[in-house]
Amino acid sequence: MPTRRRLLQGAATAALSIALTLTLSPEAARAQANDILLTLIAPLSGGWARQGDLMKKGADLAVEDINAAGGVKLPGGNAKIRLIVADAGDTAEKAKNAAQRVLADNPNLTGGTGAWLSSFTLAITEVTERADVPWLTLSFADTITGRGFKNVFQTSATAGAMAGMTLDMVLELAKSATGETPKKSGFLADNTAAPTGFLKPLRDELLKAKGIEVVVDEIFTPPLADATPPVQRVRSTRPDMLFVYPTATPDVKAVLEKLKEFNLDRGRLPLIGNGAQFGTPEILNLVGKDLLEGFMFTIANWGVKGQEELINRFKQKTGEPWMTQDSISTYADMLVFKMAIEKAGSADKMKVAQALREIDTTDGVAKLYAGGRLKFDDKGRRVGASLYTIQWQGGEPKAVFPPTAAQAQPIWPKR
């Protein structure tokens, strides 16, 4: 029956066209013509939404500060910053879609920051690089700045470098506290991207180079059903320190509880982690201050000594108990864009990107990044990017290393 069939196919095509027209309604332009457009793309829904929330709080505060102080100084008069926030969701596809949408809707976009998870950042920067939009990110996978891109600027140390820095810091701490360096170490981590990238250099070369033996190497696939077997092996092999790297909070909790059960907590075995998940306010609520006491972790950025005014203002404004890497980095990123735009004398994305490539300073906003220097090498990696060591003391994560940033004295457990 040809007519019927044709009707059907007509209907199908019509449905498609309707769907397409629906997507075509242009977004009304709300902005003032001379606003400077910056974007934050971060996970605001899904499993990483909390991190995105913290990033947004930092960026919002910075934009408020900048605009309250008169905005960005440009030859043609001051301009205000307008922050476009987009949800990267919980998949790389959604992150990429968000980037494409922000770019398509805002041809005058100057630059952006995001998106926490490395794989999201990788997907987003594939879009922004092709559009010559400068991008700042705290994500630390080596691949982000290992693709030959010109407009991606990594403010954190890369994962590959972090392992070495963490080890150096830990050994220095141990030495100053006990007078000797650990001889045996162990791993207890999940097999997701971040721990895998972090532990590989430690396992393959770094520890060997320092003469430290890996006596226990327990890698699991999250979620961790039962922490008893790996913790049992940790106990029986007796390492002098343990790198603990689960990425999911429930797994962190399971491991810490089990370590306590086996009397390996609170100083009997130094525990070292890496990454933001060990310093969120949520982990305090979930895991509790007793279990966390003495736990150390290294992190790309943190609200540290010398930033009290900012931290207090942030705490007051947002109700957050402290300022994590996610908030302070996006706060700083906005200031960096302001600096780059003023240096370029224009909000043009390519000129701003060029300015970012040329900036070299240790003043002002540079102090808001670990290492204290703002200069990017030709790959886009920040020169001198280092880490902070944070330690849970009395229910608060405090910077304990390096000494210039330390909010408290480190406690290295002694047996």
Partner: protein
Amino acid sequence: MLRAGELLRSVLAIAAFAVTYLIISALITNSYYQLMMTLVLVWALLGTSWNVLSGYSGLVSFGHASFFGLGAYTATLLLIHFDVTFWIGIPAAMVVGALAGAVIGWPTFRLHGVYFALAMLAYPLAFLYVFEWLGYQEVSIPLKRQDAIWHMQFTDQRAYGAIALVLLSAAMLVSAVIERSRFGMSLLAIKQNELAAEAAGIDTWRWKMRAIMVSGAIGGAAGALYAQILLVVTPAAVFGMLTSAQALIVTLFGGPATLWGPLIGASILIPVAEILHGELGHIIPGIQGVTFGSAVILVIALAPEGLYWKLRDRLLAGGRRPPPPAAALGSPAAATAEVAAAPPVRPIAFGPAILEVEGLSRHFGGLQALSDASLTARQGMILGIIGPNGAGKTTLFNVLNGFMPPTQGRMRFKGRDLLGLRPNQVCRLGVGRTFQVVRAFARMSVLDNVVVGAFVGAGTDAEAVALARAALGRVGMADQAELIAGGLTTKQLRLMELARALAPKPELILMDEPLAGLGHDEVEDLLAVVQRLRTDGTTIVIIEHTMHAMVRLADRIVVLDHGRVIAEGTPAEVTRLPNVIEAYLGKKWMNRAAD
């Protein structure tokens, strides 16, 4: 091809869609909408992949992310490790997808229904961990500034849309060919009733394997293209639950087992979810998941068979309707009346033994369903098998046509041992079967229902159609061939099923209670048809418990009780045996025998 005309129309429709798409795509300059248009095609492609296996065969797969993910990683890793361009990577991904289909199908097709679905779910989860373990947590496709086009990297995103369009058109074309050939008909038959399909001579395992391999190839292509569009491959993105779910949901929404279903579903769900996510994602987290969930619920509530059928039925209601089955009943009645008028011919001498059963036993645990049963059917004979419920009649048929092996005993058809043969092989030898409960393919025409049974006897699809028409003629349904099976009466369904069994011209037909549920006149019509079949030279073994019909129809009768043959002889002999009368036929017969 069964219907070349319909196929041509599908091809033209696909071409029209492709042209429309290209025109819209040429008009759109917004890169975000371009991306959306491309993603719609990618998900429609994965939906089509799912549809080829699960839509047509009804074997629901919760694990199509396996093919998608393997395709994505194949093309990506080939590029990274061996510098192989995606132009080769996508075909390679298709090969890997097809191989994965074979490897996954081989063990998994042992399972049925929900167990199959759940087992399929396990594969992508396993792959997810394997690829994490291999260290491929985040694989980024390198930006090729030189030889960009050679590496399928375009500055104009519409190029990806065009590639997706080519792949989707090809997949839809394959899907259209499948839908209109014995491939798709066999899958539909499997979907309706796998056992009946086997009994109709369809090698279900082989068709399922072919379907999962074609499906795997299409899924692999979708995954590879997705990787090239996203430029980042993570195990969670390509092997994740959402990927498998997306394939299933777009197809269910649009209409499973239809050519256009996946495209309709993807065209609506992907943009809507994305718009909602873009506009509301930071206000209502997870709105995309809610959209998909609501879509599924809506579809279940309003259009359980998918949007395509809803639209089609809606359009049909306003336009031309198929002739209602009732109106078509006039003429066939005349045909059967003519058949009925033919006097029953009962030949005195029969040919050589065609079916020999010796000492056949089958037990289920302690239950002796069939115990040392022996019987012989000679060529041209109607052999009746009677017995009360649970006597083992249907078990006998199930053993004879290979649904279950006998515990012991022998059975030969034309001297050839049937032991160990699968149902479709038994059918190929020339043994047809009908069932107690008719399994019609409700959405298909009477002719198509019969064609499914004709494939086994036909070299080409055209030959199958000819055989099917001939078989319909033999049961007096020649002029009802175009009716939709869903609207048939019980008698018509029984005749149609008989025609399906007759289509490959079997020498022996096993009929399981063909008269059940028929009215008096209908019984007469059916008896006439059966008698005429015998006159044509077909041997018939028939199970029935309507004794008076059996007495009129059968040349010889075997009486079963508790799995044992307790009597055998001509109807006159059997109905006179006291033990038979007493135990199975009741007082009425006892009195009549005494007269």
